[in-house]
Amino acid sequence: DTAVSQTPKYLVTQMGNDKSIKCEQNLGHDTMYWYKQDSKKFLKIMFSYNNKELIINETVPNRFSPKSPDKAHLNLHINSLELGDSAVYFCASSRGAEAFFGQGTRLTVV
């Protein structure tokens, strides 16, 4: 009964490839997020969706495209992966300000 689940947990891929990370929440929340955590553990919001609509886009390169087929799912597609995209990506959901996080996807671009 995981609240926020994302797959895969680990992703190793070559530069230039396109990859997707999936996220699902069973908390009934209206808002979902993608956060990026760099090697220094700094957490920064990338996107926020509310009821399938994009509400926050924090100047993320347009190689990153979130997609929300329904309010329980928010997937992240990344085109033309670069070395600097290597990080841990966290999906989260919330009803108010408190966010519930998934376990993270460690993306390594080689």
Partner: protein, 113 residues
């Protein structure tokens, strides 16, 4: 602009001691604050929150103090245990604005047995 920072990037304590983790924020419009705990290989987990109309809130073994005058937040952990070893983040939000949490840099707490 917005910024949330931590005074100490690392903190090492002995088991049984009390721990204090500090956080400074600069957005005076922030009215809601959360402390998160992130264990190795896991996502951040909610510990305790506080709204700007309060200056102290207590949970089980944890206390959050908010000083709006100097824009300072602290997390106190009583009788620190090895299981408390993790990275701790403060996060701020302006509930009247976007539903966006801004995270601080994180403090790594190590509890020595």
């Amino acid at each position: 602009g917005e910024s949330v920072g931590l005074h100490l990037p690392t903190l090492s304590v002995q088991e049984g001691d009390n721990s204090i983790i500090n956080c400074a924020y600069s957005n005076s419009a922030s009215d809601y604050f959360i402390w998160y705990k992130q264990e190795s290989g896991k996502g951040p987990q909610f510990i305790i929150d506080i709204r700007s109309n309060m200056d102290k809130r207590q949970g089980q073994r944890v206390t959050v103090l908010l000083n709006k005058t100097v824009k300072h937040l602290s997390l106190q952990i009583a009788a620190t245990q090895p299981g408390d070893s993790a990275v701790y983040f403060c996060a701020e939000n302006n509930e009247g604005g976007s539903e966006k949490l801004v995270f601080g840099k994180g403090t790594k707490l190590t509890v020595n047995p």
